[in-house]
């Protein structure tokens, strides 16, 4: 790509990202749902399953240490999914037609919501992480673990955003919003969300090892779970899972974008 082409791409990307920042700044309480819901899940699950950490073989003595990365991932997923719902709103309102009728390369029009997802997820993830730390678990994984948690969360927000964008482009209606968020919820739920793999039973024990989110959670749990020490072995499956999901949903979103004028 030429220097001018790069400047143009950067300019469009920045302009669309700036729009999402302006929305964040101007919609009071816009981040509340994606922050409050995972916090409630965190506190509720702690009350429901808090004694699981006393089971022999549980990889940490603090159940909240097990839950904090899950809540961070949920928050990131909801924030990413919300950008898909926002795209559906833009399509319904005709704003997306304005973007489509501009000469901006079509993939850049997806990049805008994806960058918005990354920005949007940082606030709830940080709030939940700090709240979690205040409730007890230490940062057992140190700086590396923290980095992995944020990398997992940010990347998962991108995956959720691409999933949301695909559905929004397909349905072209805000009615798709709940489906986007349900998809994120189910993907997280069918993993090692509340207990490690050896503690799962029945159909979930069969499904969870095939769910890539299981390995993303493992990657993020290096931050707070003492039994999952920071290591390459606990990192690469998560990276692979994220790359695979990004590729899969990215291609789906691009395919749907190519069909948007049909």
């Amino acid at each position: 790509m030429s220097t001018r082409g790069l400047a143009y791409t950067g300019g469009v990307g920045f302009a669309l990202w700036r729009r999402s920042l302006l929305e964040l700044a101007r919609v009071r309480g816009g981040l509340l749902p994606t922050t409050v819901a995972p916090l409630i899940f965190l506190l509720g699950s702690l009350g429901q399953f808090g004694r699981l950490d006393q089971l022999v073989g549980f990889p940490t003595t603090s159940y909240i240490a097990w839950l904090v990365p899950l809540s961070c991932l949920q928050a990131a997923g909801f924030a990413g999914g919300a950008t898909g719902a926002n795209l559906a709103r833009d399509i319904e309102a005709g704003w997306f037609d304005r973007l489509l009728s501009s000469p901006a390369p079509r993939p850049l029009l997806i990049l805008g919501p994806v960058m918005a997802a990354v920005t949007r997820c940082l606030v709830p993830v940080t709030v939940i992480f700090i709240a979690g730390l205040l409730l007890g678990p230490g940062l057992t994984g140190g700086a590396f673990g923290l980095f992995m948690l944020y990398l997992a969360a940010i990347s998962f927000s991108i995956v959720a955003s691409l999933w949301g964008i695909t559905l929004a482009l397909r349905a072209k209606s805000q009615q798709v919003g709940p489906l986007i968020q349900n998809g994120v919820f189910i993907a997280v739920f069918l993993s090692t969300a509340y207990t490690p793999l050896p503690f799962l039973k029945g159909w979930l024990a069969v499904a969870a090892p095939y769910n890539p989110v299981t390995y993303v959670l493992q990657m993020g749990r290096q931050a707070t779970v003492s039994g999952i020490e920071p290591s390459w072995a606990h990192t690469w499956p998560g990276l692979l899972a994220l790359a695979g999901m990004m590729l899969f949903f990215g291609l789906l979103a691009l395919r749907q974008l190519r069909r948007v004028d049909r």
Partner: protein, 329 residues
Amino acid sequence: MFSDHTAAKDAGATIIVEALERVYSSGLRAVDGVNLAVAAGEIYGFLGPNGAGKSTTVRILTTLLRPSGGRARVAGYDVVEQASQVRRSIGVALQEAALDPLMTGRELLELQGALHGLRRAESKLRADELLERVDLAPAADRLLNTYSGGMRRRLDLAMALVHRPDVLFLDEPTTGLDPVSRASLWSELRRLNEEGTTIFLTTQYLEEAEQLADRVGIIDHGKIVAEGTPQDLGRLVGEPGLYVKLIDQSQCDLARQLLAVHGAVSDREAGGLTIRTALGARAIAPIVRTLDEAQIEVDAVEVEEPTLDDVFLAVTGHRAEDVAGGEQS
């Protein structure tokens, strides 16, 4: 490729459409074999009721929708094969100004500038220039949710002009506007056209097409049913009418008999008659003389030029407003 016939016939045309079709998955044939050519520098009015196929045609010409059949070229580029070049050459203001209510007018113009490849400094300058042009400078830094309908339309137009397009597509630009805002937008469109911009304008308002368009195409059920200058189309209706209002309604029967020598006479309302005559306004004197000689007092005489509404009725068999909306147009 376009046929030689079309290429020869429309050499120099900025918009060329040949046998354009669009069939939705529901089976609705929204555009059904549309042919048209718009010359550079022309204002082309595309007139029709809701659901006639106007917006679908515009969406195809602006590359937002693929045609099911036929071809279209805009600014020299094929709308399917060279969509990106088409987008660089056109400005688009679609139905119901789609503007982000959480941004200011200036921010939106700068975003539009970025989408069209303007550098930041260039974008800011152009935004200032356009805000002045459409009289929105005082409101430039206000959020869009504080703008009136007319202000939104003017900003929408300004956004379509950011990159100085050769061709401007406007889909029902004044729908829902009050008369003052409508007149202001018309004046701006005339100014743009005088500067050389080709304008393709869809409208439901017959008056708008008459006021602005050099040529008008009338679309109904996806087909162009008439095309020409407003004057040409007026001739499709037949002879112009003279409306005569009598002071004494009881003299209507006598007046009708006497005036039959001047043209076809029809009743219009109590005490009023319409006389169709090729002489138009030149028939006023003889008609008044005839009535005066019979001591029939005249309250008013008006020349009735055929309107596009009459044309629409003549070519489609129904009035424009008779067609209900609801279908995707």
